[in-house]
């Protein structure tokens, strides 16, 4: 027995070596978006070396906070994209969520937590309706959510009567303005002071919203990689016919994916609400869906379905924000910014495709 195990050319040994090779390639593949992030950061650090405002702690915290809204929604979009779908209505959902949350306070006089729950509920419902329509009518997700984009945006405008909805100041808790704050606010400081130093350091190292994003990302990662549900989501995106053949509840799983995307987007909406210091704005976040889809795709998601990564999506969201922030700091005019960002998105995905093809050639038989 021992002799076989020690033989470096035994079948198991060879198999294990090959597996290591494919693991390393996998690591490289998942590291792709990271390389892009580092590259973009370095590029803008170099472009703005004269100003010296880009690579400051304050600016990095700003970028992190700003990526929360895109990031939360992009986590939901990652699930949708992996399942082979798309949701174009997330920007409108965010607006609708801010409006409903604001209205619950202004017109209903409910406390903040209740209003937030209502907002989350509305967003979840939006996602559920998207999923239900796609499944029951058998329409393309692109078409259904393109319609939903209009419907939810219109609904937000209708509810808000076309103006901003201001949450009553007396109902605003202290923490609302601190959630999306770049520097930790007094409330958080007070809370953190009660903790031992190492915990305090960690807690205040990044803004609270970023902690939320990381926590949610972890939960989504668990769902996707460790549960049967996650396996089935990938299966449906990879080959829906196979999923049906294997007796998976394709319709139900799809609806659950869109519903979850709605919930995560609603969380992004609540963050948007907090960032605007308690304002419901029916025209906010228009075009957000494109930024969200870009984040997913830069992170390795494939619009053909079956592929996508939680970590990659987070990195993708960061890349998008770094690009915007970097352009501002480098003094690049708005119009050129748009062109640059567009080009970089396409380049990033092209490079990623090339890289994954190399990786698959390495592991291919």
């Amino acid at each position: 027995m021992n002799k076989i195990e020690q033989d470096p050319n035994s079948k198991t040994a060879v198999r294990q070596r090959l597996e290591w090779k494919s693991r390393i390639l996998q690591l490289l593949a998942s590291g792709g978006p990271f390389a892009g992030l580092v590259l973009t950061v370095l590029l803008f650090a170099w472009l703005t070396r004269a100003e010296g405002t880009f690579l400051t702690e304050f600016n990095l915290r700003t970028i992190a906070v700003q990526s929360v809204i895109v990031g939360l929604s992009a986590l939901g979009m990652t699930l949708v994209v992996i399942a082979g779908g798309i949701d174009l209505s997330v920007g409108s959902q965010v607006a609708l969520v801010t409006v409903v949350t604001g209205l619950m306070g202004r017109d209903g006089g409910y406390s903040m937590p209740v209003c937030i729950l209502a907002g989350l509920g509305v967003g979840t419902l939006c996602g559920f309706l998207n999923g239900l329509t796609i499944d029951r009518l058998g329409l393309l997700p692109f078409i259904v959510t393109l319609g939903a984009l209009q419907v939810y945006r219109g609904g937000a405008k209708l509810l808000a009567k076309n103006t901003a909805v201001y949450f009553p100041t007396e109902l605003k808790p202290k923490w609302l303005s601190e959630v999306m704050a770049i520097e930790s606010g007094p409330g958080l400081q007070e809370f953190a002071n009660g903790l031992p130093t190492p915990f305090r350091r960690i807690l205040t190292a990044v803004p609270p919203a970023v902690w939320l994003l990381l926590f949610v990302a972890f939960v989504v990662w668990i769902l996707l990689r460790k549960t049967i549900w996650g396996r089935y989501v990938v299966a449906i995106g990879s080959n829906e016919a196979t999923a049906r053949l294997c007796g998976l509840r394709v319709g139900l799983i799809k609806i659950s994916v869109y519903t979850l995307c709605g919930l995560l987007t609603a969380m992004a909406g609540v963050m948007q609400f907090a960032e605007m210091n308690g304002t419901g704005d029916p025209v906010v976040a228009s075009g957000l869906e494109l930024e969200v889809i870009a984040a997913v795709v830069i992170g390795g998601g494939s619009l053909a379905g079956g592929e996508g990564a939680v970590l990659g999506t987070l990195v993708g969201a960061l890349v998008m924000r770094v690009l915007k922030s970097g352009c501002v700091h480098a003094g690049i005019p708005n119009a050129s910014q748009d062109i640059l960002i567009g080009l970089i998105i396409v380049t990033a995905v092209a490079v990623d495709k090339f890289r994954s093809r190399l990786a698959s050639r390495g592991t291919g038989a």
Binding site: A235, S238, N239, G247, T363
Partner: protein, 523 residues
């Protein structure tokens, strides 16, 4: 070298061709002559290097070593377009036609005679018609869209397209894998015509019967090497198989049940029936199907493609709607609108005929594809145990001999036979009482076929009821215990296999199919 290159007829000469992919050698030191007016059949197991050879000849890949000469000149195509321009055309296994365009548009695609960039419709039609006439398909409607054609006719359109670009060497990569016997025979007539016009045909097939029928010379490949090439008369079935697998296969098919002599043609004792279908129909097909499959027996369903065999399997699984009729599994009635999921739990399982399109999620791992319907068995509260799942998959990999790096490898990197084993492992892991196998050996090499037959028989011996659907009649005759014939959505009465003759089966399968002439070339 050059002195021997004075071809009396058109000739494509390959000398010392070697192609490597990383550490694996796909082809090594190959010498082969392909002559005009001849049909060269290339046979061998999957991975033997047949497809690599076709890719080299058609300019898709370049050899690492060796040279090609075509009509006395060096032949080094930079790509498929250049090879085509020089007269070498390939017809792929997966047909490459534009389904929305008409027959004529497909034939002339990229070769349109034009004037100042304007397509000359009249000339296109004339050319397309004359090419089809040469192939004895003059009656084909040029304006028909390709999507409405049968696979056999599509193949003809593809060949016509190759002829439109003046191909002199025609490479056919498993052209018959999705054709019915009638279409196959018609294709062979076309090949004979092309040969008589001086074209060189290279024909890859897994079906040795077809090779016997159509080839002048047969080349057998194994492990990237040419084992032997010789005129057909110098080969027999056993020597071919022995050359392909490197050993002799005594018997392709496993031993089947012996029937007692008192069984008559129309009624015989089946034993315990595990699956029953009473007048089951789908929306269009099948029309009304009744049959019974008993424990321990393999029930074969013969019939042409499009006769409703696959549709029947899909209706049974609940993948397509059932309109009338009643089905029972192990005595339990299946509700007419029961979901696929519940049918699987009741003990039904299907191996899909469309391996890449439906049977497997090819980008996902072996483990996932094997365990999709049964993940719950290695999970707790919906959370998958990675180690347990992997163990289950690795067990199957060992048990049925899937050649792979690990169970975490994506299915698309496996050969056809190994992919089919993954799909079978899923079915076996479901372990239902009734297993329906739709074309279980399509695109699978001889060695893997034998293993698959053995596994199917073993499942029957373990007490399952097995239904095998196949277009390949010798396979059904060799493997099954009982057999029925599907035609136009209706299933004939079943009989034990030995009570059927090939002529009877083909007669039933093709009756009412006007225009489809059939010749039977079986022993």
């Amino acid at each position: 070298m050059t002195s021997e290159l004075q071809p009396p007829v058109m000739q494509l000469i390959l000398r010392d061709i070697t192609k490597r992919y990383g550490a694996t050698t796909a082809l090594s030191g190959l010498d082969l002559d392909i002559n005009g007016g001849e049909c060269l059949a290339i046979v061998g197991e999957n991975g033997a290097g047949k497809s690599t050879l076709l890719k080299i000849i058609s300019g898709q890949i370049r050899p690492d070593e060796g040279e090609l000469q075509f009509c006395g000149e060096e032949f080094k195509p930079g790509g498929p377009r250049e090879a085509l321009r020089k007269g070498v055309a390939i017809v792929h296994q997966e047909l490459c036609l534009a389904p929305h365009l008409s027959v004529e548009a497909n034939i002339m695609l990229g070769r349109e005679p034009n004037r100042f960039g304007w397509r000359s419709g009249r000339q296109c039609r004339l050319m397309a018609r004359s090419i089809l006439a040469e192939l004895d398909y003059a009656d084909l409607d040029l304006n028909q869209s390709v999507s409405s054609l049968s696979p056999g006719v599509r193949q003809i359109v593809e060949i016509a397209r190759a002829l439109a670009s003046n191909a002199r060497v025609l490479l056919l990569d498993e052209p018959t894998s999705s054709l019915t016997e009638a279409d196959t025979e018609r294709l062979f007539q076309v090949i004979d015509r092309l040969k008589s016009r001086g074209l060189a045909i290279v024909f890859i097939s897994h079906a040795l019967d077809e090779v016997d029928r159509v080839a002048d010379k047969i080349a057998v490949f194994r492990d990237g090497q040419l084992v032997r090439v010789a005129d057909k008369k110098n080969w027999d079935r056993n020597s071919m198989i022995a050359a392909m697998v490197g050993r002799s296969i005594e018997d392709l098919y496993p031993q089947r049940i012996k029937h007692s002599p008192h069984e008559t043609q129309e009624s015989y004792d089946l034993g315990e029936v595990l699956f029953e279908s009473h007048a089951v129909a789908g929306r269009k097909l099948p029309k009304k199907v009744s049959f019974q499959v008993a424990k321990g027996r393999i029930f074969g369903i013969a019939g042409l493609i499009g006769s409703g065999r696959t549709e029947m399997a899909r209706v049974i699984m609940g993948l397509d709607p059932q309109t009338v009729g009643e089905m029972k599994v192990s005595g339990r009635v299946i509700h007419i609108r029961e979901r696929t999921r519940n049918r699987i739990q009741m003990g039904l399982g299907l191996l899909s005929e469309d391996r890449a399109g439906e049977g497997l999620a090819v980008n996902r791992t072996i483990e996932e594809n094997m365990l999709y319907p049964t993940y719950a068995r290695s999970a707790r509260f919906g959370f998958i145990s990675g180690a347990k799942s992997r163990q289950r998959a690795e067990n199957w990999v060992q048990k049925i001999g899937v050649k792979c790096q690990s169970a975490r490898q994506a299915v698309r990197y496996l050969s056809g036979g190994n992919q089919q084993k993954v799909a079978l492992a899923r079915l076996f892991e479901q372990n239902g009482d009734v297993m329906i196998l739709d074309e279980p050996t399509r695109g699978v090499d001889v060695g893997a076929k034998v293993e698959i037959y053995r596994m199917i028989r073993q499942k029957a011996d373990e007490g399952r009821a097995v239904v095998v659907i196949s277009s390949y009649l010798p396979e059904l005759m060799g493997l099954c215990d009982d057999l029925a014939v599907m035609n136009a959505g209706q299933l004939s009465n079943a009989r034990p296999v030995e009570k059927w003759t090939v002529e009877e089966i083909m007669g039933l399968a093709t009756s009412g199919h006007s225009g489809e002439v059939l010749e039977i070339n079986h022993e």
